[in-house]
């Protein structure tokens, strides 16, 4: 048993990895934490029931709970968890694979909102060669976001963490950013009223604060400074 996060952002959830039994174990004895974990289980169930998800066969889960405590164990997939401390260019392939994975499984509904992961970031992806598994479904919500919302989120979150001292991206990071953004924009072509831009992303989050609750202040994509925002606008027009 290895503790990897302890109540990050004060959510009251402990995350352990049990490598012997190949499990990710999350538990909580706070109200907030228990609600999040129940939501996470819903997310996992939704995700692994998707038709095109190749990983569904190897997924299982176990719940131990009573009124005031909840422990969710889910299978730990082979591979490494992405490192959000790395730059956009270092994570380029991982993000590219994550985008492809999303596109291949996430159901599109004409003119309707679809499911939302809510925290689709590099640190919540397990990858093993080409295979990608999305974990950490605490912010899952169904039928509430435009298709592709999570893709835009992972791009801008990575951009946020790659911002240099001068509030700019380095040439390498910029190149990767533009490549990924073009790719996502193409997929978003047939999604009405939602484009791959920081403004769109922030607008949607602010209008739907409820989905994130208190965590909203911690969302990296809302933390861009005004200088950084100007810069992002500039590069979005390239």
């Amino acid at each position: 048993m290895k503790l990897i996060t302890n109540s990050s952002h004060g959510n009251g959830i402990y995350t352990f990895i049990n490598e012997n039994d190949k499990l990710i174990i999350k538990s909580s004895s706070t109200k907030k934490g228990i609600t999040s974990l129940k939501r996470e289980l819903l997310g996992y169930k939704w995700y692994f029931n998707l038709e095109n998800n190749k990983n569904y066969k190897s997924f299982f889960y176990k719940v131990f709970s009573n009124k005031k405590y909840y422990r969710l164990s889910v299978s730990l997939f082979k591979g490494e968890i992405g490192n959000s401390n790395l730059s956009l260019s270092d994570n380029y392939l991982l993000i590219l694979n994550a985008i492809e994975h999303y596109v291949s499984i996430w159901p599109k509904k004409k003119n309707k909102f679809v499911a939302l992961h809510g925290d689709f970031s590099v640190g919540n992806i397990i990858y093993n060669k080409q295979n990608v598994v999305i974990i950490d479904w605490e912010h899952f919500a169904n039928n509430c976001a435009p298709w592709g919302f999570d893709l835009v989120n992972i791009l801008y979150e990575s951009a946020f963490f790659s911002m240099g001292l001068k509030n700019k991206l380095s040439d390498r990071n910029l190149k990767c950013f533009l490549l990924l953004r073009n790719k996502i924009s193409e997929f978003l072509k047939d999604v009405p009223n939602f484009k791959c831009s920081l403004e769109n992303l922030n607008d949607f989050i602010m209008k739907n604060e409820k989905i994130w609750g208190n965590i909203i202040v911690k969302l990296p994509v809302l933390k861009f400074t005004s200088k950084q925002k100007m810069y992002i606008k500039e590069i979005e027009n390239i």
Partner: protein, 341 residues
Amino acid sequence: MNKKLNKFFLKFLKQTDKIYTHPSNEGYWSNLSKEENKDLIKLLEKHTTREAVSIKMPMIFDVIFSEKRSVGLELLNLSGKEVAIDLGCMWGAITIPLAKQVDYVVGVDQTIESLKFTEARLNEEGIKNVSFLNANLRDLVIPEKTFDIAIVNGVLEWLPEIEDVELGNYWYKRIKRKAHGNPRDIQLDFLKNVNQGLIDGGRLMLAIENRYDYKMFFGTRDPHTGTLFTTISPRWIANIISLIFRKREYRPWIYSFNGTKKLLMEAGYSDVTLHSCWPDYRHPEFITKYGEVNNYFSPTSSIRNGKRTIKGIIANRVEWLLFKVCNFQFFAPSMIIIAKK
């Protein structure tokens, strides 16, 4: 409460709904002075426990209420049916999360004010499966083969201090104190007492600092006495340092990983599993089975108070080198141990 416990509690004087008094209840250990503690209890007449702490002592709000504190319990993989005893439970940082997971908890503490405070917390949260015993851990005889789980969290090192401890008057103060008995023997007797109170296959969770915490070599003060280099020196040198700078013997002994294991084996535990934790056992961010590599580990020092200091940055780099690169867990700050009877 099961029959065995019921019988045990019948021997004692019921003081409030949940608190019983043991004849050996003399003693005091608290972060607060006796007067501060009385004021705190008074505040509870009009305020919730969280409000009272925010008003009276915001500095230790996290020590009492942080969810991080009870993460070690997960190492026990509890099934919900256990009967547990929390020895030195104080303000309930472990007692309350534990009560949410198991069938019944007995909390023991010598400081009656701490128990009254924790009782108020329980009532606020609607938790009913806890009773408290106001007793001194050195004198209490734990009923034989009664508990599935025993918790000794940040308590073992304090047992050799036989006089009252008001932490504010203990830490950096030069004050003479009474001392008798070898500290290790006192700790050993206590661990034996806990052992006989466990059912066969019962487990003890022990959390304590590591004597050879890397920071101790770099001039960080002893977490218990505030002296320099006392944990890492031989005990007789520690005694001299303590006599010079604190006017008293060095008593709050802590041990290395192997030293603690040896102590537990001597006390009769058969299966001892060591875990290293960072940055300490109170608010661990990372826990790893002793010696194993934790790929998710990252240094914890410079983020401690949210501020970056030069000292913090150096500590951060040392931590990175020692634990991330070399995996020398011998120098890890704290340990959490699960020991089977």
